[in-house]
Symmetry: C2
Amino acid sequence: MNLHLRTLKPQHETRTRILDAAEELFMQHGFEGTSMRLLTSKAGVNLAAVNYHFGSKDALIEAVFRRRLDPMNAERIAELDRLEKSAAGTAPAPERIIRAFLRASLAMIEDARSGGRNFIRLLGRAYTEPSKPIRALIGQLYGPAMERYKTAFQRALPELPHEELIWRMHFMFGTLAYTLAATDTVQLIAGCKPEDRYDAKLLEERLTAFLEAGLLVPAKARSTVKKAA
Amino acid sequence: MNLHLRTLKPQHETRTRILDAAEELFMQHGFEGTSMRLLTSKAGVNLAAVNYHFGSKDALIEAVFRRRLDPMNAERIAELDRLEKSAAGTAPAPERIIRAFLRASLAMIEDARSGGRNFIRLLGRAYTEPSKPIRALIGQLYGPAMERYKTAFQRALPELPHEELIWRMHFMFGTLAYTLAATDTVQLIAGCKPEDRYDAKLLEERLTAFLEAGLLVPAKARSTVKKAA
DNA sequence: CTAAGATTCAAACGATCGTTTGAATCCCGG
DNA sequence: CCGGGATTCAAACGATCGTTTGAATCTTAG
């Protein structure tokens, strides 16, 4: 029986070592590109440990996402709760909602010593992952938070058509996902400059300004002009 | 000697069949998730055909990208040339530059019968691909077009600091890449509605409005007001 | 101390991977 | 019709994949 909490550090140490190594290697080489042998050797555990503790490689992948994504989305929702409570009945400003959503991602980018940054980049990849089960898992884990933020935006922007909001949230989510995942693509545009390092605070300002402008742009400004396609 | 052009259709038919099958399967299962056996059987060619015609699987991947990306970026640059010529000396409006960049991608989304749509989704994935060589290839193929559009934006927005422009282009590029790649993530936000089909014209309007707003937002508008978070 | 459960270990399993081989077949100029 | 390069084919190569096994070792309760 391990119901008692004593000596719990070595109890799950192997699990943690595996999760950490998986997080980093999945980010570097992808899921299929990371072999169990490389993974377990980096983690310093036996080859059979993954199947013993997680059951299979796919179950390990799921565990990697759940470990970070569950608390991350919970924090996102809590942040929104706090924001709405402080607004006392009135709808919070869109900018505040955007910042509330960004904060969890950006906070994780800043902590480099634990694998937070690795995970964020890994997460950005997962959205466009070919594997159906992985995308389904991501959708399931993100679902509740997405729903909350959607209604928050709807309340803050009652004049914006529902379908328009869906697309703009899609754009916003895409900008965030790509920005965090494709770190070295900045230099694709910049020419060569690799941009010293992620300044999370500065990045938050830039992202918020960009996303807020896109979200608030008047809908169908050219609806009457219309397309002469 | 096959210098003469005669009978050139069956001459490269195997190559084309392989490229088409690769495009679709790479999109569905990723590069590592697509085996040569599945690929060649779908293409209806012998297993050894890929190595005979392309040399290796990696070389095939590169060929898949080059076949579409070379003309696509050439068209992008031509579009910008045309735009600048019609502007006769003055800098074209940012909106026009954005549309010029989007057009090539959206045109390819519309042609569903050839594998254009497959390729666009595959391309979106490639930006966040773990494999270094693939990202390097993408960067190399995109480089010239990126440089041209960067100077075009700089001329249209001379007051925008260079570093700010880099980031906003990064955001814009990310929005486009993600929007096109993660088709079924829209429903993650929408709840369940799968959105009938991509209406390329409508998508162009929505994307242009969103991106233009983000690109044109005043730089550092809140530097003095600052946050009272 | 001892026995039982939890965990780790080296070794091997069958399957599948990308690639290579050498003969068979096709295509076409002479 | 013939001969040679281009292409296709079935078969096999060695390597590596994820997973399983059964014994060895560690941990802990009684």
